[in-house]
Structures are given as structure tokens and as C-alpha cells.
């Protein structure tokens, strides 16, 4: 007990600062346990007394989990170490995912006086982010900023991708980033030894370790580059697995020469448009030519020209023709409506099978058998009938029911088999007659109605006209989903009508769109509409 004398109130034990406090925040299943074991072995193997704890329990099941390690150079006696991280008292915080870094910051585990934050910038999306009908992704940039403010030192890059490229898992790249950070007094070789001793997937682990080590130590420009880059919305999401090979640029339009001549003519027309409009019209054009044909693209550009004329008349030039630009975007999406023909076309396209094989990491000599999940209904069947026939059938409820009995069943189609491929290929072939089909009629009528309303608002309220165009965003999906989208569209358009004439009409319409995207059933939208009615009708009463 006499050693206690060495501790005088004015001066806390200097050895306290030698205690390294390290916390790991991970998502259940990310292998935080493996990383913890490595760190323990590493420290014990290098003359440190180590204590590690974790909170397992059901949190392991995809929930947020936390592991905690404390270490101190070994002396004769056992030190007394804490079993849980404390606010403002963590030296190294390893976050195995971007939002977990945010959680660590929120919990006060990251402080400017002492904490080195090592975080992977990739995202593992929470369910709340996924189920929003619109854009529900959390803002990684906000976390990045907060990290800059709260940490003593920040090391953030995509450690998940590094691990995957190395054929390993993130624990290995996190271990490498820890080594690269130089926050622990151990040589990187000691880390490698630890991995070798653990004996599972050593080769891949070491590869991921070294890549991450280099990145963290700043020798490798690639991942550290992410530090400066503004991250994509929602941060670094799972990479699109689309094969990216040099001589294929995704947007490029290909085809027989005679058709390519028509294409050149269209491109020339786009070039003539005002810069901001041209950029979007170019994308729209590619989309629609790919969707149907050159003539369809021309029709699109004709509409753009018409819109641009009225935009100019409404003084759009001063506003970079925001109206036409917005229209160019949503008109392209509207004209490329999702129907069976398009689905069949995309499913039977050249290069798809190669893409899938690549996505599935199919090795040489393995067969890739592709099964499509279809579930058509009478509505779909009618939509691809010629206009007259479609209307005639629609008029007869009994006939529709009968038709539904025939077509309405789940179909599993093996598109790697010739017979089933042919069936889809034939449906895709109907594309040629698309303009004569009932669905096309409906879509075009809908587009006209929508644009007319927007154009009507153009002279009086430019911003509201633009927001009106954006309501088109609500229409997406197939069958029920599509119907739900349509009804939301109509309700928002009705709401927009009510506020027309007010100074804040544009803001209200934008709000309505946001509300419509807030939940599937449209509860938020109903609320917003209620509010609008309350003050619009109150005004009239």
C-alpha cells in the first residue's frame, strides 16, 4: 500500500498516459472479434499487458457492436484496466463502417486532445435508409466533417474495397490501417507475424493488410485520395459490378452505319442547344434511342425545341433555361416508360450474360444459368395490345378476368435456354410496333397533360413551373407500385394546383414531392395536402 505515496493529488501517475485505449466499432458480422484477437496477440507478443472485452449478445446479428482493448508495457505487477471505453478517454477509435464512425463521434469517444480515428468510408446501409421510397441515404459528408472537427487525427478510406480486392475481409485492412497509422509502438512486421500465427486465410489477409498499411501511411495515393474527394451521395456504396473495360464506354451508341448517320444528325441537334440543356438532352437522347429508335429520339428533341422556345419567351435565358433542362431530364424518363417490351429487351441484350458472369465472379469452366422472375397480370397483357383491341378487351370485365386467370402467375424463365430466350426475344421484338400499342397512347397522353400544366405556369411563376416538372419523379415501378406512383403524382399535381398563384407555390410543390417520397402509403403526403387545403380553403371562405 505504501507505493500509493508516489501518487500525489497534484500529479497523476505518469504511467497512466502509457495506457493505450483502443475501441473498435463495427457492424455485427464484420469480424470485429478477429481484429480484436489480432490486436491482443500483437500486444501480448510485444511485451504489453493487455485486457480486451466485447459486448456480444444479439448485437452480433447485424447490429452495432463495440470491442474495447487496453494495453500497458508489462512490468512486474498487473495493471488495473477499464472494461469499457469512456467519453473523452479513447486514444484509437477504429470504425469498420462510415456511420459507425459517426456513432463513435456522437458517443464522445472521439476527442481532439487524444483520439486517432481510423474509419472505413464504405457504407453498410441501415434498414431505415433502404426502405425510404426515395433517397433515404445518410450523409457521409456530415460524418466526415464531424470527424475532422472532433478527432486529433483522421484516417478515412475505403477499407472494404481494399479487402475485397485482396480476396479478404475488412478486419485485415483495418489491421493494416492501424499499422499504417503508427499509433501503436510496434513494427509492421510484428503485425504480419500476428496474422501468420493466426493461420486462417493468411495470404489474402496479408495482401489486404499491406495495401491498407500503404494507404494509411500515405504511400498510396488511391484510397487516401478519398479523403479530399466529396463522397458520393450516401458515401461509398457497394460498387456497381458492371464490367468496366477500356474500349467500352457505357454511353456510346453503336449500330449499323446507315443508322449511325441518323444518330450523328441527332447529336448535331443536341450540340445546338444551350450548354446546360445540351448536357442533359444528350443523356436523354442516348436513353431514348437505346429505348426505341432514332425517330423516337428526334421526337424527343422536337419536344425540347418547343419547350425551349416558350422557356426563352418566359425569360429562361436569365435562369440558364432551368425549365427546359429539368424537362429534358424528366421527359426522357417519362418517354422511356417501363413496360414489358423494355424489360424483355434489356433481359435479352447482347453482353448481359457476360456482365452477369462477371458480376457473379464466375470462374473459367463454370456454367452460369440465369433464371428470371416474372409475374405479369392482365393489365400488362392488355397494355401490349394494339390500341383498339386493348380498349375493346378492357371494356369487358369478364374477358379481363379470364385473361388474368391465364397470364397471372409467377414465371421462372431460364434465359440461358434457347426456347425461353426466344419467347422474351420475340416480345422485345414488338418494340417496332410500340407506337401503336395502348400503353404508349396512355403514356403520351399523360406526358402531354403534365407538360401542359407546367407550361401553363411558366409565364406567371417560373420556379413553380420547374417544380411542377419534377413531380414526374413520383412515377416509377411496375403493376401495383406503378399504380401507387401514379396516384401520388395525381394527388401532388392537385395540391400544386391549389397553391398556384401564391408566392411560395414552388416551395409547397417541392414539399409535396418530398412528402410523397417519405413513406410508401403516402401518409406524409396526406398530411401535407391537409395543411395546404386548410389555408387555401380558409382563404376562399
Amino acid at each position: 500500500m505504501k507505493d500509493a505515496a508516489i501518487v500525489s493529488p497534484e500529479m497523476p501517475d505518469v504511467r497512466l498516459d502509457q495506457i493505450v485505449k483502443l475501441a473498435i466499432m463495427a457492424v455485427g458480422g464484420q469480424g470485429g472479434g478477429v481484429l480484436t484477437d489480432w490486436i491482443v496477440d500483437l500486444a501480448e507478443g510485444n511485451g504489453y499487458a493487455v485486457q480486451a472485452t466485447s459486448v456480444a449478445g444479439v448485437a452480433q446479428r447485424t447490429g452495432a457492436t463495440i470491442y474495447y482493448v487496453e494495453m500497458l508495457p508489462q512490468s512486474g505487477r498487473l495493471p488495473v484496466l477499464a472494461l469499457a471505453p469512456a467519453e473523452g478517454d479513447v486514444d484509437i477509435l477504429i470504425a469498420a463502417e462510415m456511420m459507425e464512425a459517426g456513432r463513435a463521434i456522437m458517443r464522445g469517444f472521439v476527442t481532439p486532445d487524444r483520439t486517432t480515428l481510423i474509419a472505413s468510408s464504405h457504407r453498410a446501409l441501415a434498414i431505415s435508409e433502404k426502405i425510404a421510397p426515395g433517397m433515404g441515404l445518410a450523409d457521409s459528408d456530415a460524418v466526415r466533417k464531424a470527424a475532422g472537427e472532433s478527432a486529433r487525427r483522421v484516417i478515412i478510406f475505403d477499407m472494404e474495397t481494399i479487402a475485397r480486392e485482396a480476396g479478404s475481409v475488412i478486419s485485415a485492412s483495418l489491421f493494416g490501417a492501424l499499422a499504417g497509422s503508427g499509433t501503436l509502438p510496434f513494427p509492421s512486421e510484428a503485425y504480419r507475424e500476428t496474422i501468420r500465427a493466426s493461420g486462417r486465410g493468411v495470404g489474402a489477409s496479408l495482401k489486404a493488410f499491406d495495401m491498407a498499411l500503404a494507404a494509411a501511411a500515405g504511400e498510396d495515393a488511391m484510397p487516401v485520395g478519398n479523403l479530399e474527394d466529396a463522397p458520393a451521395p450516401g458515401g461509398i456504396l457497394p460498387l456497381s459490378a458492371t464490367p468496366v473495360d477500356a474500349e467500352h464506354e457505357p454511353g456510346r451508341i453503336v449500330g449499323p452505319d446507315r443508322l449511325l448517320r441518323d444518330w450523328q444528325a441527332l447529336i448535331a441537334r443536341v450540340a445546338a442547344l444551350p450548354g446546360h440543356v445540351a448536357a442533359i438532352a444528350d443523356l436523354g437522347l442516348r436513353k431514348l434511342v437505346d429505348y426505341q429508335d432514332a425517330a423516337y429520339g428526334a421526337a424527343y428533341l422536337d419536344r425540347i425545341d418547343g419547350l425551349l422556345r416558350q422557356d426563352r419567351a418566359a425569360g429562361g435565358a436569365a435562369k440558364e433555361f432551368a425549365f427546359t433542362a429539368t424537362a429534358a431530364k424528366y421527359l426522357a424518363n417519362a418517354m422511356a416508360y417501363d413496360d414489358i417490351l423494355r424489360v424483355a429487351d434489356l433481359k435479352t441484350r447482347q453482353g448481359r450474360h457476360a456482365r452477369i458472369s462477371d458480376e457473379m465472379r464466375a470462374t473459367e469452366g463454370t456454367l452460369v444459368q440465369v433464371t428470371e422472375y416474372f409475374h405479369p397480370g392482365a393489365a400488362e397483357a392488355i397494355s401490349i395490345m394494339p390500341r383498339r383491341l386493348g380498349l375493346w378487351v378492357e371494356g369487358r370485365a369478364g374477358l379481363v378476368r379470364g385473361l388474368d386467370r391465364i397470364v397471372n402467375r409467377g414465371q421462372r424463365l431460364r434465359t440461358d435456354r434457347l426456347a425461353t430466350f426466344l419467347a422474351l426475344y420475340a416480345i422485345a421484338g414488338l418494340r417496332r410496333w410500340r407506337r401503336g400499342l395502348l400503353r404508349h397512347d396512355r403514356e403520351m397522353a399523360h406526358i402531354d397533360g403534365w407538360l401542359d400544366v407546367a407550361l401553363g405556369r411558366l409565364p406567371s411563376d417560373y420556379r413553380h413551373a420547374v417544380e411542377t416538372l419534377k413531380v414526374r419523379r413520383l412515377i416509377k415501378g411496375y403493376s401495383d407500385t406503378h399504380a401507387r406512383g401514379l396516384s401520388k403524382f395525381q394527388r401532388v399535381m392537385a395540391g400544386a394546383e391549389l397553391v398556384t398563384g401564391r408566392d411560395d407555390a414552388a416551395d409547397w410543390t417541392a414539399r409535396l414531392v418530398a412528402a410523397a417520397l417519405a413513406d410508401p402509403k403516402g401518409a406524409a403526403l396526406d398530411g401535407a395536402l391537409q395543411t395546404i387545403r386548410s389555408f387555401t380553403t380558409a382563404g376562399s371562405a
Binding site: 476527442t111 430466350f421 415501378g477
Partner: protein
């Protein structure tokens, strides 16, 4: 076979005297049991002591060598009842379970055990599931110790202390003929540390030997008049004996200087947190040598009045650090002081919060404000005017919550997807949930289930609705809960009362939530247990007339059909659906090596995986609202004209098929596809695929030659 194997660690259990043991707390406890000649062990899994059960199971061979009987009990009640072997026989027994939920279940047996008392040491190792990471209601085991008069050990959370606690626990139990409860907190169970081992001991009397010469003593049986004598014994014999053992063996520890104006009384489990706070205040060094005297209660029940009064001697004030509520210890100690007419000032709940975990910050603030009040001069200037970290950036509106949920490919997901679809058709129902992974159904995206009353009590908690009504009540229960208690308390109850309700039994082949331990209905063979007892047979056995067995839960359309039938059939009496598919976590662990081997051996293996055609997905996320699978996620489309992220299936997909099934059953969209990777295909397969591929290529080229199109499709 459990989720985590300790086969490697278990080898360490053989080391002898003087060797250094390194590992987790639970492993150390197991070693300590062997060192102290335990004769039989049992328990029921559940965090934080699930791994203790797994360790014991993996150590069965070693225990057999030592003549120790291991039992994976059917429930905590069964485990506690097993301690009956120590009533008449001088055999040491230990059981373990999660507390307080496990202790709730066990309390009938525990009360009877405590009343009659024990001859051989009886140790109940409870994993105190309190604070961060806990999955249960926040209560204390302390209450059970007090009500049945079972001694409660709460050792300092380091391996030497826990293992000592095991040793003294047995001795204390024998010295006072009272069962002893050893409480280990979540982090203590998983703490990695080291201690010096002793030799393993064969039990002096094994349970086998005991069977050769049975004993009985009517005075130990809980029935009048003995039961009244038991109560007197508890007070007049056993309690004093316990206090005597605790003092003579110094189970409670005192640290720090003998002379001081203030002191701290703490539960052993709080020791490290208290020391860390004192370290941060400059009042303790790294080895825990402290300027503030500490009275560390490694035994929190019974309390030793004399020790406590001696500690208070010459002090102005004492702080009582007791985590959780009610504040039993503080109340008791205040009473002691009051009876003794002692004038010392007492702080406790007040400077420290009445409810909630004592985290580092809470402890620091509490002890600091205590010292400021009674010993301000001890605080260094830094601590007196501490530079608190600045305000934490507010990310509450940015960072999404991440509650636990169904794993990738979980077979329970499609069950609830089907349920959601049925509700869209027939409207919402009264749904009672149960304990187990399936309880995640209460959270998004499913949000099904309104109550959970206990393990195997899902259907029982719908009993009030058994009479039926416009819509039938639905209850959910796991296979774990079914065998734990559900067969009688829930199913038997429903049959006897002619319930009109519908019950879904989620059969995933294991006690999955607790770590994938085997149970009666597990499909796998188990060398030491009898598995493969179908739930449906048990149901018919207790008289359920309407039973439907679904052998592939991923068939969402079928699940929906069966569920709808159950809700609409005119059959009288309970309707029970057994929805069976193997826990994907365990299945993957079981199959992965086998498949890898098969592929290496050149055998044909087809592995399904799922994908999404990005351009066909319209980004409505309807599929997400019926799934929530971790591998079904989002990405921004490469099409700059689109506003919303689209569905994407990442590399972790295990090809369970839920995506496609849901897209089909809910008539969502055709963007999902299944890709079966066929390894080592037969020659015929290759040829067959090749000519069809050629034909398809020809068709595609033909069309590509007649149209304009983007070079790549997504």
C-alpha cells in the same frame, strides 16, 4: 453444434499447477470448476454465458475423463433443479444461465434448493445481462439472492478474482449449507486476461458412485414441518456460518490507506470502473494503488456489518457504488449505520444515478462530485476545474440507428414477408411475439408483433384472445422456446382451452439466437444428445388437430397460402404452422467447407446467387420493405437522369432466394434474376449450354445489327 467452437481453447483446460492460463472470462470459470473438483455441471445457454455452455459442451470429453457429468439442460428451471444432487450427496455441482430472465425461470427450483439447503457445494453462475448490449428487461439478480437467501458473489472483473470466486463459492456453500450465486457481468464474461492455473481435481465422490449408495433425509425436503425449520436454520445457522467464512477468508477486500476522511464501498464488479475514475482524478496509479480507501464487496449478499462499520471508523463520509436499482445494498448499509447509531455521511444514489449502467463518464462524475463535497482538497486543480471535452458534434439526425436484425439469407425473413402480404390482404391482426431471433420481426421493415412475455410464452400471451373474434390472433414462437417451455405452457394451454388462435413455430434447427446450440428437433446428429425429434409430432402428441409443416420457408407464396388457410379455415381449436428452414448462419458454416471440398474434388456443385438488372429496377424500394436483408442494398444508378438509388445485391448474397420469391409473391418487379453457378458441369451440360449460347449470340448479333443501342446494358 454451436456457432463458435472452443475446441482449440479447451485444450488449455488441461494445463496444470503453475502454468499461465490466457483467455476469456468464461473459459477461466470452466477451468476453475475443474480445479475445484466439480462433480456435475449444467445450464441453459443465453448471452452473456452462451459461450460458457459452448465451452462446457466442447470440454465434455475432458470432463468425462475426470468423471464429471455435463448436462445441456432443457431450461434454466431444469438446470437449477439438477443442483438437487448436492442436497444429500457431498458432490459439488455448478449450473449456469442468463440472468435475470434465466433466474426468473429457475426461481421455483432455486427457492426449494435454498430452503432445504445443500451438503455439496452448489454454485449458480449467472451472466448478468445488464447495461450496454443487454437484450432483456433491466433488473437485478440481487433480488433473487435476497428472497431465497442464496449468497451472491460479485467478484472483481479479472481472471484471478473470478477463479478465486469459484473456489470460495464452493467452500462457502458447503460451510453454510447454502447455494451460492456467482454473478458475472457481460464484459467480465468476455474479458481477455490471464491467471495462474492449478491442477484439475477429480470429484472425491462422482455422481456414478452416488447412484451405488443412495441417500435421503426427510429433514431436507420442503414440506411441513421441515420447511419451518429451514427458515430458522437460514437465520440462526447458515447466515452466521456464511458471515464467519467470508470474514475468516477475507472474501471482501480493503484497498488504500488505513487513515482517510472518506472511503468508497463498491460491488466487486464495479472495481475497475471505480479505479479508472480515481486514476483520471489523479488519486490512483496504474496498479490500482489508491489514495481513497475502498471496501470492495466481492460478496454483495450477505453483507458483513462488522466489516462495514470498521471501514467507516474514523471517516467523515462514505460513497456506496451500487449499479442498478432498487438500491438494496445502500438501503441495507444505511440501516446498519442507523442501528449502530453511526454518524458518518453516506452518499450513493444521488451523486450516482439510480438507474442505468455506470459507464466511465457516469462513474467519473459521481466520484468527483462526492469528493468535491467531502474531500475537495484531494482533487488536483485539473480535476477541480477539469477541461471537459468540447460539445460533441450533433449527428443525431445523420447517423441511422442500427438495431440487430435478421442475418443475410435468414429463413425467418420470408415468413414475415408472407405475413406482411397476408395482412395487406386480410388487414392487421393481433400478433404476440416470443423470445428468439424471430423477435426482430417487431422492427422495420416488418413491424409485426406487439408483445413478448417470455421464452416459449408467445402463444400463451395470446390466451386472452383464445375465444376468437372477427380476426384470429396470431402468435409466434421459436423452436428454442417451444422445447424450453412452449410445448406445455403455450401449446398444451391452447389445446386444453380450445384456442381459436394461429401459432407459427419458427423452426431453424437450432437454438439460433443463443449461438446455434442443438435442441431436441435439431436435424443434425449429435454424438452425445438425441436430436431429430420433429416438432410436428410433439404437436400431434399433445392433441393439436390442425398442423401444417412448411419445409422451405423461402417459398413465400406457399407460406402466404398456408397462413391464409390457418386464418380462414373453419377448423375448431388451435392451428399451428411449423415453418422449417435451417438457420443460414449455421448452414453456411456447415456447408461452405463441404462445397469447397466438393468443387476441389471435381464434383458437380450448383450455387445460386441473386442479382438485379439496374436499368429495370425503378428505385421504389418496395422489395426492401419486404426484406431488410443485409446483402440486398442500394447503389446510385449509373444513369445520371435518375434521382433515387436502385436495388443492388452485394457479394455477401448467399442465394437464399427470398428476393425473387418476394418479387414474385408481391408482384413487385422483374429486375431480380437468379444466377446458378454450376461448378464442374457434366460434358453433356457443357455441350448443351454451348450450342444454345451460340444460337442466342447469333440472335443478339442479328438484332444488334438492325438497331441503335448503347454499347453496354446494366
Amino acid at each position: 453444434m454451436a456457432e463458435r467452437s472452443f475446441k482449440k481453447e479447451v485444450e488449455q483446460l488441461r494445463i496444470g499447477a503453475g502454468d499461465i492460463f490466457r483467455g476469456e472470462g468464461i473459459l477461466a470459470i470452466t477451468k476453475a470448476l475443474l480445479e475445484n473438483g466439480v462433480g456435475y455441471v449444467g445450464g441453459y445457454q443465453g448471452a452473456p454465458i452462451s459461450h460458457l455452455m459452448d465451452v462446457l459442451a466442447d470440454a465434455e470429453e475432458l470432463m468425462a475423463e475426470l468423471g464429471i457429468r455435463f448436462e445441456a439442460n432443457a431450461s434454466e428451471a431444469a438446470a437449477a433443479a439438477m443442483l438437487a444432487a448436492s442436497v444429500h450427496y457431498p458432490i459439488r455441482g455448478a449450473v449456469t444461465f442468463k440472468s435475470t430472465v434465466g433466474t426468473n425461470v429457475a426461481s421455483d427450483a432455486l427457492a426449494n434448493l435454498a430452503s432445504g439447503g445443500v451438503t455439496g457445494g452448489a454454485l449458480i453462475i449467472v451472466g448478468e445481462d445488464y447495461g450496454e448490449g443487454s437484450s432483456i428487461m433491466q433488473e437485478r439478480s440481487h433480488a433473487f439472492a435476497m428472497k431465497s437467501q442464496i449468497w451472491l458473489l460479485d467478484p472483481r472483473p479479472n481472471l484471478p478474482s473470478i477463479t478465486d470466486a469459484v473456489r470460495h463459492g464452493f467452500a462457502l456453500s458447503e460451510a453454510s449449507n447454502t447455494p451460492v450465486m456467482l454473478q458475472v457481468r457481460i464484459r467480465c464474461c468476455h474479458v481477455h486476461g490471464a491467471f495462474t492455473a492449478r491442477d484439475n481435481q477429480r470429484p472425491p465422490l462422482t455422481v456414478r458412485d452416488a447412484l451405488s449408495n443412495p441417500r435421503r433425509d426427510t429433514n431436507r425436503i420442503v414440506l411441513p414441518p421441515a420447511s419451518f425449520r429451514h427458515e430458522q436454520e437460514k437465520i440462526h445457522t447458515r447466515w452466521p456460518a456464511a458471515v464467519d467464512y467470508i470474514t475468516t477468508h477475507g472474501l471482501n477486500e480493503v484497498f488504500g490507506p488505513d487513515e482517510a476522511r472518506v472511503g468508497i464501498v463498491l460491488q466487486g464488479g464495479m472495481y475497475n470502473a471505480v479505479i479508472r475514475a480515481l486514476q483520471r482524478l489523479g488519486l490512483a496509479d496504474v496498479y490500482g494503488d489508491t489514495d481513497v480507501p475502498l471496501y470492495c464487496l466481492n460478496v454483495t449478499y450477505p453483507l458483513v456489518d462488522a466489516e462495514f462499520l470498521a471501514f467507516c471508523g474514523g471517516k467523515d463520509a462514505v460513497l456506496i457504488v451500487e449499479e442498478g436499482q432498487p438500491d438494496y445494498i445502500e438501503q441495507a448499509l444505511r440501516a446498519v449505520l442507523n442501528k449502530a447509531g453511526h454518524g458518518i455521511k453516506v452518499s450513493g444514489k444521488g451523486v450516482l444515478p439510480m438507474a442505468g449502467e455506470y459507464t466511465g463518464q457516469v462513474m467519473l462524475d459521481g466520484i468527483e462530485s462526492f469528493l468535491r463535497q467531502y474531500a475537495d482538497d484531494m482533487l488536483a486543480d485539473r480535476a477541480r476545474a477539469p477541461n471537459r471535452p468540447g460539445p460533441v458534434p450533433d449527428l443525431t439526425r445523420v447517423v441511422p440507428g442500427r438495431p440487430p436484425g435478421f442475418c443475410t439469407g435468414c429463413p425467418e425473413r420470408p415468413i414475415f414477408a408472407a405475413m406482411k402480404l397476408v395482412e395487406e390482404e386480410l388487414g392487421p391482426h393481433q400478433i404476440s411475439a416470443d423470445i428468439g431471433c424471430h423477435l426482430f420481426s417487431i422492427m422495420p421493415p416488418f413491424e409485426l408483433g406487439g408483445t413478448t412475455m417470455g421464452y416459449g410464452l408467445g402463444p400463451a400471451s395470446n390466451a386472452a384472445f383464445d375465444g376468437g373474434g372477427e380476426r384470429r390472433p396470431i402468435s409466434i414462437m421459436g423452436d428454442g422456446g417451444f422445447w424450453h417451455n412452449g410445448l406445455s405452457s403455450s401449446i398444451g394451454n391452447a389445446v386444453f382451452n380450445k384456442s381459436d388462435g394461429v401459432t407459427i413455430i419458427v423452426d431453424n434447427y437450432y437454438s439460433a439466437a443463443t449461438g446455434g446450440q442443438d435442441i431436441l428437433s435439431s436435424r443434425a446428429g449429435n454424438p452425445t444428445k438425441q436430436t431429430q425429434n420433429p416438432i410436428s409430432r410433439a404437436l400431434k402428441g399433445v392433441g393439436v388437430g390442425w398442423v401444417r409443416q412448411v419445409d422451405r420457408t423461402y417459398d413465400v407464396s406457399r407460406m402466404r397460402k398456408v397462413l391464409k388457410e390457418a386464418l380462414t379455415t373453419d377448423h375448431a381449436g388451435p392451428k399451428v404452422i411449423v415453418a422449417s428452414s435451417e438457420c443460414m448462419l449455421n448452414r453456411e458454416r456447415r456447408e461452405k467447407p463441404l462445397l469447397a471440398q466438393a468443387i476441389k474434388d471435381g464434383r458437380r456443385v450448383a450455387r445460386p446467387k441473386f442479382g438485379v438488372d439496374e436499368e429495370i429496377c425503378t428505385g421504389d424500394h418496395a422489395c426492401m420493405r419486404l426484406s431488410g436483408c443485409p446483402s440486398l442494398t442500394l447503389k446510385m444508378p449509373d444513369d445520371a437522369l435518375r434521382d433515387d438509388p436502385v436495388a443492388h445485391i452485394d457479394q455477401t448474397c448467399v442465394g437464399c432466394g427470398n428476393c425473387g420469391e418476394v418479387a414474385d409473391a408481391a408482384v413487385l418487379c422483374p429486375s431480380f434474376y437468379q444466377a446458378d453457378l454450376v461448378h464442374n458441369p457434366s460434358r453433356f451440360e457443357i455441350g448443351n449450354a454451348r450450342w444454345q449460347r451460340r444460337a442466342i449470340d447469333w440472335l443478339q448479333n442479328r438484332r444488334a445489327g438492325k438497331r441503335l443501342a448503347r454499347e453496354t446494358v446494366r
